[in-house]
């Protein structure tokens, strides 16, 4: 039988090789060898995901690869889920992030990447789409109570509408119930500070890391 180190290495490799079958096998072997599922996830699958994430950031792997890696991770996790539930180390959702491109702006490519990376990172993502009215953001926040509401603006002419989002959340009396996050090429940390947004994310990975910092 394979050693614990070998099984964990295999789990990691299954992610970096985007191999869902291998991930499932590694998970089964881990169960048979009585390895703690949390350890398998952290040192195996998540460590593999970390490598894939770094390569994505460097530009040597691309979004479909990250998705394929996430898919492999899901097959592995599905195998160990029953065991985890027994041990009560439940994999809860890390939080809900609502995202959309701000009113008047139809640029969606960057927003889509951010939303995919957030769901890969374990967050439940509610994607409101593009050209989303400020009033819609506010209504949906009331209705769905996300932990973070994120707006993307790709134009200097639409980023100003992010101020209105801050204000209308205040007017609706729900600003303190939700963290706001902004991003998109013209936005900066300075801009976030100026308008009172809680989080500024420069890239998709930066957004995931910062949401983790705030929520976890």
């Amino acid at each position: 039988m394979a050693s614990k180190e070998e099984i964990i290495a295999k789990a990691q490799e299954s992610i970096t090789e985007f191999d869902a079958d291998m991930a499932g096998e590694a998970a089964k072997e881990a169960l048979a060898a009585d390895i703690d599922p949390v350890e398998l996830i952290e040192k195996g699958f998540t460590a593999g995901m970390q490598i894939v994430g770094e390569k994505f950031e460097q530009g040597s792997l691309f979004l479909p690869h990250v998705l394929a890696a996430a898919e492999a991770m899901n097959s592995g996790i599905n195998v160990i889920k029953p065991e985890m539930e027994k041990r009560k180390s439940k994999t809860e959702s890390k939080g809900i992030v609502m995202i959309g491109t701000i009113e008047g702006d139809i640029h969606s490519i960057g927003k889509d990447i951010v939303s995919s990376m957030l769901s890969i990172g374990g967050f439940d993502v509610i994607d409101l789409g593009r050209d989303v009215a400020v009033s819609t953001f506010v209504e949906k926040v009331k209705e769905m109570k996300p932990d973070v509401v994120a707006s993307s603006a790709l134009m200097t002419t639409t980023m100003v509408t992010q101020i209105q989002l801050e204000e209308q959340l205040k007017e609706a009396g729900i600003r303190d119930q939700v963290k706001t996050m902004i991003g998109g090429a013209p936005c900066t940390q300075d801009w976030a500070d100026q308008i009172g947004a809680d989080i500024y994310g420069e890239s998709a990975t930066d957004a995931v890391n910062k949401v983790k910092e705030v929520l976890l």
């Binding site: 691309f62 479909p64 995919s116």
Partner: protein, 355 residues
């Protein structure tokens, strides 16, 4: 007392840096490009020259005499009339007036006719209008008149087009379907561009400009390269120009290749040979501005990338210079101090053939 030099942040905000800070910024900017693109960073002499340009006392600067380069315009036709947040000035005028002003008053060396929707797909139903406008421009003007628009492959996906949106498919982990959708869209993109241009060449266009190539990622670039190839075959003597959407080709597909090279993740110096191979006459490389960094950092980075692209390219490189690209801040009216410094550095250090 140390003298501080007036510079900009990438979002246009005015800042003041000491000479030492300025030198640190340009070294770091150049190193960032060198690291990402695996290309040489600027030499000591080049960094010194760049710092000189940035520290020049005048509000505007210019290239040295004898170093002037051609200036071409993309959607400039609409720059006078339009005002959509992209540096338009909103003065009511026809497209002919816009083109002629660029030729006769602003000294453009080539001009481009473009439609307000500015993508090839929506030009299809109004192509007769475009042909008419091209003919009138040609009758009144001397400089080469290109026809231009964006490949904008996003228009082939739902809700704007027939193929399922790969963004939605990928979010549902349907990677295979997403890939297929992109490949179908690329075929349509090639077909539409060729169809539109067959008509415009019949109306006397001197060439075509593919503006913001790769905006929807690697499949957008794939479709464009095939369109260039098809046009070159059918029209051996026309003038073909392709400008990029960004510095790095986004890997929305990740596996599409051209001439045996994976398109995703290519930097300007790697894009140039492929564009040339497809049959281009002029390449428009791009370097994006980071709004959170200084203009010194951004310009050094942009010059480093462009220098490598010029070196790798046998065809002329006309660098994209405008709001948010080419070391220029991201502002509707790009500040003239930053624009002229960036232009001078591109010509004198990166050695670009045109702007």
């Amino acid at each position: 007392m140390a003298i501080d030099y007036a510079l900009r942040m990438g979002d246009g905000k005015k800042i003041f840096l000491s000479k030492d800070q300025l030198l640190e910024e340009i070294e770091a900017g150049s190193a960032d490009a060198a690291d990402l693109g695996e290309i040489p960073s600027l030499s000591g002499d080049e960094l010194a020259k760049l710092s000189e340009i940035l520290m020049m006392p005048g509000k505007t600067v210019s290239v040295e005499q004898g170093m002037e380069v051609p200036v071409t315009h993309d959607i400039g036709t609409l720059r006078i009339d339009g005002d959509q947040g992209n540096s338009g000035v909103g003065i009511p005028s026809s497209r002919l007036v816009g083109c002629m002003m660029h030729e006769r008053a602003f000294g453009s060396d080539t001009m481009e006719l473009g439609h307000i929707d500015y993508s090839y797909k929506p030009v299809k139903p109004v192509v007769a209008n475009e042909c008419q406008a091209m003919e009138v421009c040609q009758q009144n003007m001397i400089v080469p008149m290109l026809y231009g628009a964006m490949p904008n492959m996003g228009l082939y996906y739902t809700p704007d087009g027939p193929f399922e949106n790969p963004g939605d498919l990928m979010k549902a982990f349907k990677i295979q379907e997403a890939w297929e959708s992109m490949e179908h869209a690329a075929e349509h993109l090639t077909r539409d561009t060729v169809w539109v241009m067959q008509r415009l060449f019949a109306s006397g266009a001197d060439g075509i400009n593919f503006d913001t190539t790769g905006a929807a990622g690697d499949a957008d670039m794939y479709g464009t390269l095939h369109a260039i190839e098809a046009l070159r075959k059918e029209f051996p003597n026309i003038y073909i120009e392709a400008g990029m959407a960004g510095e790095c080709v986004l890997g929305m597909n990740g596996q599409l290749e051209y001439d045996g090279k994976t398109l995703a993740g290519l930097w300007p110096h790697e894009q140039a040979p492929l564009i040339e191979k497809a049959g281009e006459n002029v390449f428009g490389p791009v370097c994006n501005t980071n709004t959170s960094k200084t203009s010194a950092w951004n310009l050094a980075r942009a010059v480093t990338f462009m220098k490598a692209a010029v070196k790798a390219s046998n065809i002329p490189c006309h660098v994209d210079m405008g709001m948010g690209v080419g070391g220029i801040p991201m502002l509707e009216t790009p500040p003239i101090d930053a624009v002229t410094r960036a232009s001078k550095a591109m010509v004198e250090i990166a050695g670009v053939d045109g702007i």
